[in-house]
């Protein structure tokens, strides 16, 4: 008998046992065994003992583990779904165990700024844009893996966990990557769309967090749904401008990863970014809010990066600019809103 397990029975590796990681582990476990990695040995112990992670019951075919080498050796298909600030570190740790036949599909919606010359996000030094990388670039630079994809879309982890219907887009230059991902994720309650615009899908997922923050603030100030529709529409506009300046196609912004994800996160208290915005508008300080969050709020740092990029590319992004002033220069939210509303006359659609 062949000592190697058949490919079809191989476990799929999910790296990061956060809300989203746990949710897609359960989803994949309907088709394939899953190795769910957490860097925290205590958390793994607890998951093994209680079969519960982040309040979600674990599927019997999900095996929690703290052994990174094991995950990389036993699985060809890997889904790193951790926050952007730990991503490069994880890739460096995985690199010695990875080979070109591995497939990595990440679900991280942030930029890598580990080398941007900042101590922490409140460091007042100027961000060095040169050292900002997308997650795909991090994977390419740290590892030998080339078959890379990104999973994005309106995927509020809590809803997936409750078995509510959802969809995602998987983008990769390799058809094989999309095919493999679609195969393990297939489910009557989860639809997978494909794309080959990796950068567009990646950027859309990253940039929408900015507007989720702003949307939370609108709710806190009881601005109403007209204002939210305005925010979403004009926010999408700013996303497209930034995306194009960074070299991606505009199309992906009108798909699941763009407008789809933007609508979901701008309307739901289940989004961390939205909740953060909400609490800020209720008078809590940013430091206090962040300390209360159990996971990284990507939108905070992304706003700062987007602001710097927008300035460099001389783009017209009033929402990003105002939000940046609120987050980093203590500008009162109401004042920022006022200045937004009396912004000079603009065309509705100009791209």
């Amino acid at each position: 008998m062949d000592s190697k397990p058949r490919y079809e029975n191989q476990p799929v590796g999910v790296l990061g046992a956060g809300n989203f990681g746990t949710a897609i582990s359960n989803l994949i476990a309907e088709n394939r065994p899953v190795l769910l990695y957490s860097r925290n040995p205590d958390a793994v112990e607890k998951m093994i003992a209680g079969r519960i992670a982040r309040g979600q019951q674990l599927h019997p075919d999900v095996t929690p583990t703290n052994d990174l080498a094991k995950v990389c050796t036993e699985s060809t298909l890997l889904f790193p779904v951790i926050a952007s600030n730990g991503f490069a570190d994880l890739m460096n740790k995985m690199a010695p165990h990875l080979h070109p036949h591995h497939i990595i599909i990440h679900g991280t919606k942030g930029f890598d700024v580990s080398l941007a010359g900042l101590e922490d996000i409140f460091d007042t030094d100027e961000i060095q844009l040169k050292s900002i990388r997308t997650m795909t670039e991090v994977i390419r630079e740290a590892t030998v893996v080339v078959r890379i994809g990104v999973i994005s879309g309106p995927n509020l982890a809590a809803e997936i966990a409750q078995g509510k219907p959802a969809a995602a887009v998987i983008a990769s230059h390799f058809d094989e990557v999309v095919r493999e991902a679609a195969e393990v994720l297939r489910s009557p309650r989860f639809r997978v769309y494909s794309s080959n615009d990796v950068m567009g899908v990646e950027l859309a997922g990253v940039l929408k967090n900015i507007f989720a923050l702003a949307s939370g603030m609108l709710t806190g100030l009881e601005m109403g749904e007209n204002a939210r529709a305005l925010l979403i529409t004009r926010g999408l506009h700013e996303m497209v401008l930034l995306g194009r300046a960074l070299g991606s196609d505009a199309n992906s912004f009108f798909g699941l990863a763009g407008i789809g994800d933007l609508t979901a996160t701008c309307s739901s208290e289940k989004s961390r970014n939205y909740r953060t915005g909400l609490r800020l508008s209720q008078g809590d300080s940013l430091k206090v809010v962040l300390a209360d969050m159990d996971e990284t709020v990507e939108g905070i740092l992304t706003t700062r990066i987007a602001y710097a990029l927008s300035k460099r590319e001389k783009l017209d992004t009033p929402i990003i600019d105002s939000l940046y002033q609120v987050l980093y220069h203590n500008k009162p939210i109401s004042q920022a809103l006022d200045s937004l509303m009396i912004h000079r006359r603009e065309r509705d659609i100009d791209f």
């Binding site: 190697k4 058949r6 490919y7 191989q10 060809t76 690199a95 010695p96 080979h99 070109p100 036949h101 740290a142 590892t143 030998v144 080339v146 078959r147 230059h173 390799f174 058809d175 094989e176 493999e180």
Partner: protein
């Protein structure tokens, strides 16, 4: 490490394989009967695959016939023979006679025969034929010819025809890890990927490879070059194979690709100009033609799959090569072609006539009489995935692990072909090579001054578009020398930062006093053009007689993001 150490003091090296009859390129000619059979068979199988197992074969044949007819009537060359016309007329008759068929489910035997005949005809036209005697002759004559031409031309005095003052090695600067390339050509198949700026490139590269002691490389030369009897004799017998850019049919392209793939698999070191043709704009190539590069990826996969320890080439290596000239003779016609094509003017087909003997001689004469150096900057050898390789030819990853290349071709647990995946690998290889071009490019004084002058004019007249700028009246082209020198200094320093970060290379004359650099650049930049790209005017300020040429030489430094520093 100082960059100077990269420059080889002496280019001459003993041959890697002293016995010419052991060269892979010779073996290809020796075994041509079996090679042709295998080649035609492989091409046929590819075409059947492409036509949905032959279901669409008839349409493919009709398309080919149509394309060939158009070529013969609308774009005839001197190389086209009467026999060729007869052949295609016959094919036409046969294809038409076989046209009214009910829907076909299997391969139609008549169509299969026609396909075979077409591939056969293409293959006979393409194939190279390496003759050691011709190679021996060329390798003795060329250096003598070069040497004499060089000394005579630069002496500008026929009386000094036997002077030995100038040697080729002074003029042709070879940069890069020559010993590594020599070593790896015994461990696998080397694919040399040069930039392409001038018709002189292939002659220079051939000469330098010989000096480096490397066996002759296979390379595809445009069919139009074979109209010149002398070039034709040498190229034909040195193993050049013929590429006809007019032929666009799938059958032709697949025949060509199969040739390349199989030659690589038999260890035939090859040279592709991945840019396709000479750079029209003067820029380093940014978009490569992926057709031939794709054959390398295919060959690597096949070699790893068959895993034959006896095979000469289980591993393929790529070596980027960047040529640097202060002066490109064809620059005026290249840049005007470029401007015509980007200006969206009506596209016209160039007659593609290569100069006759006299003008080729003038060409060489002009080249040798210019005193400026030519740089051939070889990059490190890499595998096809951009990984570095050790002296044994093993691929090494960023963590110093040996890499098993089979892993790139494993899908769902085993090695298998995947056209889309491999096409993506080819695209990645193309991107990698264009990135390497920038890094291996030796920046010259003439590049810097042309770049700075054009950028300063562009900045001054920022309201003008490119075409407006190129039509700038001569009196508006003046740049005060002092400001020019200051900008040159800044850009030079930026370039040296890039060099420090291994993002570019610098010629030794780039260091030191800026006025000396400018003087060196002015002496060399496009020196033998009738109109000067860049020069000093009567007041000692910078000006240009030919903005198109200035633009052309300036373009060499675009792509480094230096524009923002002006």
């Amino acid at each position: 490490m100082s960059l100077g150490s990269l420059f080889q003091k002496k280019t001459e090296k003993p041959p890697v394989l002293p016995d010419i009859y052991e060269w892979p390129i010779y073996k290809l000619t020796r075994d041509r009967v079996s090679f042709m059979e295998e080649w035609i068979e492989a091409t046929r199988n590819r075409i059947l695959e492409l036509t949905d197992n032959g279901k669409n074969l008839h349409e493919e044949l009709a398309k080919t016939m149509y394309l060939e007819k158009i070529r013969l009537t609308q774009n005839p060359w001197k190389t086209d023979t009467e026999g060729e016309k007869r052949f295609w007329n016959q094919i036409r008759t046969r294809v038409l006679a076989n046209a009214d068929k009910s829907p076909i489910h299997t391969i139609d035997p008549v169509d299969a025969e026609i396909l075979e005949d077409i591939i056969h005809t293409y293959a006979y036209e393409i194939r190279g034929n390496f003759k050691p005697q011709a190679y021996g002759l060329a390798s003795q004559i060329l250096p003598i010819l070069f040497h004499r031409l060089l000394n005579t031309a630069s002496a500008r005095n026929m009386g000094r025809i036997w002077s030995n003052k100038h040697t080729m090695d002074e003029r042709i600067r070879v940069v890069g890890p020559i010993d590594e390339i020599r070593l790896l050509s015994t461990k696998g198949t080397v694919i040399l990927l040069p930039t392409h700026f001038s018709n002189l490139d292939s002659i220079l590269i051939g000469y330098v490879l010989h000096k480096m002691g490397l066996p002759a490389y296979l390379y595809g030369a445009g069919l139009n070059l074979f109209t010149n009897p002398i070039l034709s004799y040498f190229m034909g017998n040195l193993g050049a194979y013929k590429i006809d850019r007019r032929k666009k049919s799938d059958i032709y392209l697949e025949t060509l690709k199969s040739y390349s793939r199989m030659a690589l698999l038999r260890g035939g070191h090859s040279l592709f100009f991945p840019g396709g043709t000479r750079s029209r704009s003067g820029e380093l190539e940014k978009h490569l033609k992926l057709g031939l590069l794709g054959t390398a990826i295919d060959a690597q996969r096949i070699a790893l799959t068959r895993n034959d320890p006896e095979a000469p080439a289980n591993k393929l290596f790529v070596v980027p090569l960047v040529l640097g000239y202060h002066f490109v003779l064809e620059a005026p016609s290249l840049i005007s072609e470029y401007l015509k094509s980007t200006g969206k003017e009506k596209y016209f087909i160039n007659p593609q006539v290569f100069p006759g003997f006299l003008s080729s001689f003038k060409f060489l004469w002009k080249f040798f009489s210019a005193k400026s150096e030519v740089y051939l900057s070889f990059g490190k050898p890499y595998d096809l995935f951009g990984n570095e390789v050790d002296t044994e030819g093993n691929s090494i990853d960023k963590h110093s692990r040996k890499l098993d290349l089979r892993s790139y071709f494993i899908s769902r647990g085993e090695m298998r072909p995947d056209t889309q995946r491999d096409a993506e690998y080819t695209r990645m290889l193309g991107e990698f090579i264009t990135e390497r071009y920038k890094c291996e490019n030796v920046v010259l004084s003439s590049n810097i001054i042309s770049f700075v002058a054009f950028q300063m004019m562009q900045k001054k007249f920022h309201r003008l578009d490119l075409y407006g700028l190129l039509r700038l009246p001569e009196e508006d082209r003046m740049i005060p020398y002092d400001r020019f020198a200051q900008k040159c200094q800044e850009i030079r320093n930026e370039v040296l930062c890039l060099v420090e970060a291994h993002k570019a290379r610098a010629a030794s004359h780039l260091y030191g006093d800026i006025h000396r650099l400018i003087k060196h650049g002015l002496l060399n930049a496009g020196i033998y053009h009738n109109q000067k790209a860049i020069m000093l005017d009567n007041n000692g300020d910078i000006s240009s007689e030919d903005m198109n040429l200035l633009f052309y030489y300036h373009n060499r430094l675009t792509g480094y993001g230096l524009e923002t520093k002006i």
